[in-house]
Every structure is written in structure tokens, then in C-alpha cells.
């Protein structure tokens, strides 16, 4: 009997935002702001988002297509440098089964009046499936939502 295959993967996403690093950082750090954009597709069922944004603090949220497996995200914050860097680790479960464990690094750099965001995710998938393509697509969707959130917040300010 052999082990289910594990898949170790890394992907990087870079985005530019018109908002300065402090506003982009706030969108990750403030629970009300993060709940605005850190959500699954509109048609998914969703749970409450919990965020305790400090080193050693936890975050959780879950959701999924109606009637299908619940995707549960559970994170722990390892390193926080205001306006510059956030390093977290997180587990994804599909219903009760562990799917992957990741380290996510968010780096923010000033770029003119805006911000360059560099997101690096290092993951191991343990359920025999390499979910990297879906994960990367889902993360790009989140960063689109972050952009829309920053534009809305900017228009209000």
C-alpha cells in the first residue's frame, strides 16, 4: 500500500493597486474590511468570517457551492510588519478532510502613489489531488475583489 501522493507547489501573483500601502494593508488587517473581499463566489453559501489579526492570531471562514462540499479555511498569523508584510499559514479542509497546508506571504511595496502587492503561496496538497490551478484562480479572483473593495472605499473617502 502506498501513500496518497502529495503535491508540493508554489505560485506567485503580482498586482498593482491605486491605493497606498497603508490602505491595502488595512484591507487585510481590519476584520470589517477583509470580510468585504475575502469571500468565495457570490453564489456560494458562506459562514461568518473570524479574524484576530496579530502574530499568533487566527482566522477562519468557510463556504461552498450550495449542496456541495464545504471549503473551510483556517489560518494562523506568523509574521506581521505593518504596511509591508504578512506571513500566515493556513489549512484548507473539504468538509472534514484536510486538503492542503500553505504558507502565504503578502509583500506590499510603494509604487508611485499606489502599491505593488506580491503574493507567494507555498503549499502541500495531501489528499492526492494537485489543487494548485484552482487555488491560483481563486486567489486571483480574491485580488480582483480586493481591487473593487479599495476602489469603493476610495470613492467614499
Amino acid at each position: 500500500m502506498s501513500n496518497p501522493a502529495t503535491h508540493h507547489t508554489t505560485f506567485v501573483i503580482e498586482r498593482s493597486y491605486a491605493a497606498p500601502p497603508a490602505r491595502v494593508f488595512a484591507a487585510w488587517a481590519e476584520p470589517k474590511a477583509k470580510a468585504q473581499w475575502f469571500v468565495g463566489p457570490d453564489d456560494w453559501d458562506k459562514s461568518n468570517h473570524e479574524l484576530d489579526f496579530r502574530v499568533g492570531g487566527r482566522e477562519s471562514v468557510s463556504g461552498g457551492p450550495p449542496g456541495e462540499a464545504v471549503h473551510a479555511y483556517s489560518a494562523r498569523y506568523h509574521d506581521i510588519v505593518p504596511n509591508q508584510r504578512i506571513v500566515s499559514s493556513y489549512e484548507m479542509h473539504m468538509d472534514e478532510t484536510l486538503s492542503s497546508v500553505s504558507i502565504a506571504t503578502v509583500e506590499l511595496q510603494p509604487e508611485g502613489a499606489g502599491t505593488r502587492l506580491i503574493y507567494t503561496e507555498q503549499a502541500v496538497y495531501v489528499d492526492g489531488r494537485d489543487g494548485t490551478a484552482d487555488r491560483e484562480r481563486g486567489t486571483r479572483d480574491l485580488f480582483d475583489k480586493l481591487d473593487a473593495h479599495l476602489r469603493r472605499a476610495g470613492a467614499r473617502g
Binding site: H8, H78, R85, S89, S102, I103, T105, T120, V126
Partner: protein, 152 residues
């Protein structure tokens, strides 16, 4: 404002042991066995140790080297499949400074009467800390000590 950085790296090490997967796994799972190979060497002095080997449990090992440098390992277990797989994340600090956040996967596979161990580490090294392969060499050294323990 001091500029902060992150460099991402990964490495994988394979080792063959004559011991069964059950014995190799026990050397990771039981504190008495683990402290014989997962520790500093020479004049290194243990200052603190916590060991709670279960999913959601944590491990902590702090020690002082002869030159006065204090190293701290803080780990969290995410996935444990007895005799097969262990996944944990950990922070390393040199003195008070966090130098890395890592994801480690230990996989055990029976080969004949023995075991093939594959250790994979995916790491974010912080603030220009120049690892230059020292993490990989240090891990390889620990896995050698694990092998010596299993042969006793």
C-alpha cells in the same frame, strides 16, 4: 523606513533507513526519542522544550549556543498519518529575530524491511537572512543523527 523582504526557497532530502516505518515514525512522535536527534549539538544547552504531538498541537525548542546565540523553534502540527506522514509549520528565531516561516512535510514509505523518508521544506526567509543552504545542511545532519539512533 527599513525595507523588509522575503525570499522563498524549498529543498527535499531523501534517506533510507533499515528500521520499519513504525520505528521511524515513533522517533518523530515520542519526545524521548525525538530529543536524541532533534536538538543542538556539542555545547548547545536546552533552555525550553514543549512537545505536543497531535494535530493542532505545538512544539517548542529553545537553546543557547556557546557563542551566546539563542535559537528558537516553534512548530505547529497540521497533519499526522501514523507511520506515513507528518506536516508541520514552524518559525525559527535567532535571538529575538524571526528569520523564517516554513512548511515541512515528512513522508515515510516502506521499502523492503526498511523505510524511505522524504523530507520537504518550503520556506520564507525573512529580511535578507542569508540561508546559503544552512537549513538544508542542518536538516541533513539531523536526519543522519536519526539514522544513528535507529541503528542502536
Amino acid at each position: 523606513m527599513e525595507k523588509r523582504s522575503a525570499n522563498h526557497a524549498s529543498f527535499s532530502i531523501e534517506r533510507a533507513y533499515a528500521a520499519s516505518p513504525g520505528r521511524v515514525f515513533a522517533a518523530w512522535a515520542q519526545v524521548e526519542a525525538k530529543l536524541q536527534w532533534f536538538s543542538g549539538t556539542g555545547e548547545w544547552k536546552e533552555l525550553e522544550r514543549e512537545f505536543d504531538f497531535r494535530v493542532g498541537g505545538r512544539e517548542r525548542l529553545v537553546g543557547k549556543w556557546p557563542d551566546g546565540m539563542v535559537t528558537a523553534f516553534d512548530g505547529w502540527y497540521h497533519d499526522i498519518v501514523p507511520d506515513r506522514r507528518i506536516v508541520y509549520t514552524y518559525d525559527m528565531r535567532l535571538d529575538a529575530k524571526r528569520i523564517s516561516v516554513s512548511l515541512a512535510t515528512v513522508e515515510l514509505e516502506p521499502v523492503g524491511a526498511g523505510t524511505r523518508l522524504r523530507f520537504t521544506e518550503q520556506a520564507a526567509f525573512l529580511d535578507g537572512y542569508d540561508d546559503s543552504g544552512s537549513r538544508e545542511r542542518g536538516t541533513a545532519g539531523q536526519l543522519e543523527r536519526l539514522g544513528a539512533l535507529l541503528e542502536r
